[in-house]
């Protein structure tokens, strides 16, 4: 294959169109089979990529388009980790919603989404990045708006407008940045690696903050987070998995790929602000989660808290913080992905997701209880599981950069079990109250167990031996650290 | 000569404009539009002939064609409104109000 990276985003695009075209015509199961086939093949291809070439550093020669825009794709450890996560979670989400009788559009949307996300993580041209970035909104808009639960329209529009509005700040920043580069060098270029503004002048700070707002909406960082609970709550389970598992990471990826490399000076200068905001996120998300009565909303707020830890580690600009924060992106994708999937399984059976709608599920659905408990522990950050590694390293990094912020963020660590374990207790341990739907929730079947084994297995493997996984972020960590 | 041409052209143009702005019957407004177009075209043809420039004459021809097309669409719309039982008067058609 001469263009292995182009294949990564065109194959799912093609798959999506094929799924749509071949739908109808007497084979109702064909679309989902086709979609799963494409997702699985792509995952295997992605996984095999470094095995074949011996490294995950890969670049395509690229192609000059107009206005200094260049079609250039490349892969490094950071990109590879996220590409792999995207491929894995797309496959998992399709498999997870296997029994839901959706139309071909549903299955195709996931492939379109995968294509856009791949593009985001592969692009090395700012313009290309922005195109993929915006393109990812479209399939997600339809996933939420067409196949979501009761209040889906509102959530979809809110999600789209909010994140689109955030993207405008990103575009503004990108245009100013390219303009600035032209002023300095006389060249029009959107190339990410060539863009670097060392000085910390007011314009640099302005561009940094503008783009940071664009990324912060996606992460999401307080006070730009309120689209997230609505979108998560209304999205179908697989949509939530992709949203939390991959799409939120786009914002952090932007920090790692664009902001910190381009503005090394500004990044260091704003460290207290970004770090402080991240720590605040971790605490605020936890408090927000404690007050929730809807299982999905609760997990959505826990995402806010977790992403706060990710951002804090990255913002610390220490190698351990960057590596830990980046690993936490993967961890959060696995753990929260598993949690959303399981809430989806529960919802599929009972059409409820309130904390008080269930009780004693650990007795009636022990396998579900086991996996849910395991994912909760991972999310709480119990050592030996993946959640701990990222949290620990992020905090350790911030401890070296700015101890006060790290100490404050410890409160967030302390609060994590205070919202997850009571929720677990209410759903899985409490006696079912009157009007409970607990009896409708049957235990997991073989397909669901297999999915959750895969996710839980990774959680434990990363937790027990995180070092090989940290290698993905080795280059980014050593390049970006102060 | 130039003065005459400009005089006729401007006269037609402003009469057309006055009709368009002041009258409320759609048919008359369409007529006004045509007058404005005709007025402009006179200048174009005059200068096209003066300079022996085929491009300008071509443009004049294009404007004629557009004016014809516009008349067709406009008349069709008016007819449609009439058929629907609406009065073909501008004040009666206020769907566009914000």
């Amino acid at each position: 294959m001469t263009a292995p990276l182009t294949l990564l985003w065109t194959a799912p695009l093609l798959g999506g169109f094929l799924t749509l075209l071949l739908a109808g015509g007497g084979a109702p199961r064909l679309p989902r089979r086709l979609a799963l086939f494409f997702a699985t093949a792509l995952f295997l291809y992605t996984a095999a990529m470094p095995l074949a070439s011996g490294s995950f550093n890969l670049a395509e020669s690229g192609l000059d388009l107009a206005f200094g825009i260049r079609y250039s794709l490349a892969l490094d450890g950071l990109s590879y980790a996220l590409v792999l996560l995207t491929a894995f979670l797309t496959m998992i989400s399709l498999l997870g919603s296997w029994k839901e009788g959706h139309s071909a559009g549903f299955w195709a949307s996931f492939l379109f989404l995968e294509s856009a996300l791949m593009g985001v993580f592969l692009a090395r041209d700012l313009f290309l990045f922005y195109i993929f970035w915006e393109a990812s909104l479209i399939p997600m808009f339809f996933i939420i708006g067409l196949w979501g639960s009761a209040n889906r329209r509102h959530a979809a529009v809110k999600f789209f407008l909010y994140t689109f509005g955030g993207s405008l700040f990103l575009l503004l920043g990108a245009l100013l940045l390219v303009n600035e580069r032209h002023a300095a060098t006389g060249l029009w270029s959107w190339d990410m690696s060539g863009l670097r503004l060392d000085g910390g002048g007011p314009l640099s700070v302005f561009i940094f903050i503008s783009m940071a707002i664009g990324f912060a909406v996606k992460i999401p960082v307080f006070p730009f987070h309120t689209w997230l609970p609505d979108a998560h709550t209304e999205a179908p389970a697989a949509g939530s998995v992709m949203l939390a598992g991959v799409m939120l990471k786009m914002g952090l990826y932007g920090f790692l790929r664009i902001l910190y490399p381009v503005f090394p000076g500004v990044g260091a200068r704003l460290l207290p602000w970004i770090g402080g905001l991240a720590a605040f996120n971790a605490i605020y998300g936890a408090f927000g989660a404690m007050a929730q009565t809807d299982l999905k909303r609760l997990i959505a707020y826990s995402s806010v808290a977790h992403l706060g830890f990710c951002l804090m580690g990255i913002a610390s600009l220490t190698p351990e913080g960057i590596a830990g924060g980046s690993l936490q992106m993967i961890n959060h994708g696995l753990t929260t992905g598993a949690l959303f999937l399981m809430v989806g399984f529960i919802y599929e059976r009972s059409h409820k997701r309130g904390l008080s709608d269930f009780g004693a599920l650990a007795r009636t659905a022990p396998a579900l209880g086991f996996f849910f408990g395991l994912a909760c522990l991972s999310s709480v950050g119990v050592p030996g599981m993946n959640g701990f590694v990222g949290e620990f390293m992020s905090l350790a990094g911030m401890m070296r950069a700015l101890p006060v912020v790290a100490m404050a963020a410890l409160l967030g660590v302390g609060l994590a079990p205070a919202y997850l374990l009571p929720a677990f207790g209410k759903v899985f341990w409490n006696d079912p109250g009157p009007g409970s739907c607990a009896s409708k929730v049957t235990d997991l079947d073989g397909r669901e167990r297999a999915i959750l084994w895969a996710l839980s297995g990774l959680m434990i493997v990363i937790g027990v031996y995180p070092r090989p996984w940290l290698d993905f972020f080795r280059a980014a960590a050593s390049r970006l650290s102060l | 000569m130039t003065l005459w041409v400009w005089g006729v052209s401007l006269f037609l143009f402003f009469v057309g404009l006055a009709i368009v702005v002041l009258r409320r019957q759609l048919l008359l407004m369409l007529l006004g539009l045509e007058l404005m177009i005709a007025g402009t075209n006179i200048v174009l043809v005059f200068y096209g002939g003066l300079r022996a420039d085929a491009d300008i004459l071509g443009a004049a021809l294009l404007i004629l064609a557009v004016a014809a097309g516009e008349a067709v669409v406009g008349l069709a719309l008016i007819l449609r409104a009439y058929n629907l039982g609406l009065e073909p008067d501008a004040p009666a058609l206020r769907e566009l109000r914000g």
Binding site: T226, A291, A323, A362, M399, N430, S478 | R97
Partner: protein, 629 residues
């Protein structure tokens, strides 16, 4: 290749294999899950013996297992290694955990026999045991923290084992959250230490060598944070309150938790960190003061409790206070010795309480429901008596030697500490003899159980008897020829003086034994001579009953704090977030619409109006064009 004694690796490998095997068995034959666990216990016990021998002959060793996490940047590296530390301290802990823990495993086979979740119990239980083993052989603070949290997690699962009970669910949550509050201190200390070391983590040996060169302020912070962590796990004031409620789990869990795992972790942490803690000015005094306060307060409350397991739980809090006091007084050896003997006698007492509850077919029993069991349960009675005498500190029972070491140190220190030491000796005797008299002698009140109380079966009676034998003999064995001190000295980074255990000294013997006699006499007087006294004061002085019920109103204070946190979360999550933050977002839609209503007034819908605008615009443009010409 890892160069480690095979037995050291076995300590971790055997339980892991057992849990994996048990997990497989659980899906097919849940009734057989206990077999791999028992085998693993036996292996670990033998390994612990071998390791104790190795340590005493060859000395301490650090083994690097694998590099857990690492990052690189030009000029600096950051890494966390996982390894195993074998020294006298960990060998002693291994012996304690494997002996007591193994016997409790055996006991559980009988105790949990009729429980529907038999298999699940053993999985959790062995996980608990494994976590504690991992904790004591940890080679650095990060690794120790890892197992420290796993211990907490396992305790959450086990305290909430009978999750159909509301109280069990609450207790489990309370235990986990309280421990988490303490863990934050541990975590913060780990981070500060890592920042001090500068290249990530360091094993204990290297870290303690830095010792005096560390900035005293940082060191003090680390010391206090570690102590804070210890107060949660080892149930010291102000974080002790989870432990008495934690008896909601099955009795073997309480036994394991109080005797060998969990609560001993905090004391172990203090002992492990002694080389750092002893360097901090004033910290040992704090530890001693908090220990004494906890010991006295909980002993007083223990006297007023009527539930068997609750009395024992407060007694554990009290004894942990004694150990903390011992450490604070600089007698780490004495404290560890007491940890050892306490493990034996407290396990015995809990298992006896379990026997009684089992005999009465209840999850736990009240002293008023027991009574006069002496004749019906001779083995339990015998074991309980031996353990009670050991707890009270009767010569030559094990508890005597260990308690004596700490009381002796308190007397030496004099002043408040001496008074506290004597008071504790008096109170421990009081509550344990009160319990003994009420349960085995008092009037029988169990007229209506389904059948007469019966002695426990062999599988339960045998471990209890063995533990009781330990509760009698361990003290003499350890003191004789300074065996324990010699063992602990291997690889000890603190002063040798801190490990000295006096053995037998007349002054403390007299002081301790006279207090013991007072306590026993008072207990006899209150239970047998004035049996009505106990209900009488509760009825006549409700405020006093309430005072003890709430642990001197401290529990009310804690629940107030919890309520405040919940209220804050509601204020943030329900009101601030949805109304203010999201309100601003949702408000943009209506705001834009309102704004557009203003402008739309100009859009009249009349074609002529539009054309006027058009003409005006064209004219303006034309004017502009003419001006520039």
């Amino acid at each position: 290749m890892i160069h480690a004694p095979f037995s050291l690796l076995l300590v971790l490998i055997a339980p892991i294999l057992a849990i994996v095997a048990g997990g497989f068995l659980y899906t097919f034959r849940p009734r057989l899950v206990h077999w791999p666990m028992l085998a693993s216990c036996a292996v670990v016990f033998l390994a612990a013996l071998r390791l104790a021998y190795l340590v005493s002959t060859r000395g301490a060793m650090d083994v690097l297992l694998y590099r857990w996490a690492a990052t690189w940047s030009p000029g600096s590296s950051w890494l966390v290694d996982f390894g195993l530390r074998l020294d006298g301290l960990s060998a002693m802990m291994l012996l304690l955990i494997s002996t007591v823990g193994g016997l409790i495993h055996l006991y559980s086979v009988g105790y949990m026999e009729e429980d529907a979740s038999f298999g699940r119990f053993f999985l959790y239980f062995h996980f608990f045991y494994f976590s504690m083993l991992g904790l004591v052989v940890a080679d650095n603070y990060v690794q120790m923290y890892l197992f420290w949290e796993l211990v907490g997690t396992a305790s959450y699962l086990l305290i909430g084992f009978w999750y159909h009970k509301d109280t069990a669910r609450r207790a489990a949550l309370q235990a986990f959250l309280t421990n988490r509050v303490g863990d934050l201190g541990f975590l913060a200390a780990v981070f500060i230490l890592m920042a001090i070391v500068g290249r990530g983590d360091s094993n204990f040996t290297d870290l303690f060598q830095l010792g005096a060169s560390i900035n005293p302020t940082h060191l003090a912070l680390v010391g206090f944070l570690l102590f804070w962590a210890a107060t949660a796990k080892s149930a010291q004031f102000p974080l002790y309150f989870w432990l008495p409620d934690a008896m909601e789990g099955p009795t073997p869990v309480s036994a394991l938790m109080h005797a060998a795992t969990m609560v001993t972790a905090g004391i172990f942490l203090l002992a492990r960190s002694w080389p750092l803690i002893s360097l901090v000015d004033g910290l040992p005094q704090w530890v001693a003061a908090v220990g004494a306060l906890t010991a006295i307060g909980s002993a007083i409350v223990a006297v007023t409790k009527t539930d068997l397991k609750r009395i024992l739980a407060y007694s554990t809090v009290s004894h942990l206070g004694i150990m903390a006091m011992g450490i604070g007084l600089g007698k780490v050896g004495g404290a560890l010795f007491h940890l050892l003997t306490h493990g034996f006698f407290k396990a015995t007492l809990f298992l006896c309480a379990g026997n009684i509850a089992h005999a009465l077919h209840k999850p736990t029993a009240d002293v008023s429901e027991a009574g006069g069991l002496r004749k019906h349960m001779p083995v339990t009675f015998g074991a309980f008596t031996v353990a009670a005498l050991s707890l009270a500190g009767v010569f030559p029972f094990a508890g005597f030697f260990s308690k004596d070491a700490i009381i002796g140190a308190a007397l030496e220190r004099g002043g408040v500490m001496a008074v506290a030491g004597l008071l504790i000796a008096f109170l421990s005797a009081l509550y344990i003899f009160r319990m003994l008299f009420l349960v085995f002698w008092g009037p029988r009140s169990w007229q209506h159980p389904p059948e007469r109380p019966h002695e426990a079966g062999t599988v339960m009676a045998a471990p209890v008897s063995l533990l009781a034998a330990g509760a009698f003999a361990v003290g003499m064995f350890a003191v004789w020829g300074h065996r324990l001190t010699d063992l602990l000295l291997r690889g000890w980074a603190g002063s040798a003086e801190s490990l000295s255990i006096p053995g037998f000294e007349w002054p403390s013997f007299f002081a301790g034994t006279s207090m013991l006699l007072f306590g026993a006499g008072a207990a006899y007087f209150l239970t047998t001579a004035m049996p009505d006294w106990d209900p009488a004061w509760r009825a006549s002085r409700p405020w006093l009953a309430r005072l003890f019920e709430t642990d001197f109103y401290y529990k009310s204070f804690v629940s107030g704090v919890v309520d405040a946190v919940l209220a804050a979360s509601r204020a943030i999550g329900e009101i601030f977030d949805s109304r203010v933050v999201d309100g601003a977002v949702e408000g943009t839609g209506p705001a834009v619409r309102a704004l557009s209503a203003r402008f739309s007034a100009a859009i009249s819908g009349s074609l002529n109006d539009y054309l006027w605008w058009l003409a005006a615009g064209a004219a303006a443009l034309l004017g502009l064009a003419l001006r520039t010409l």
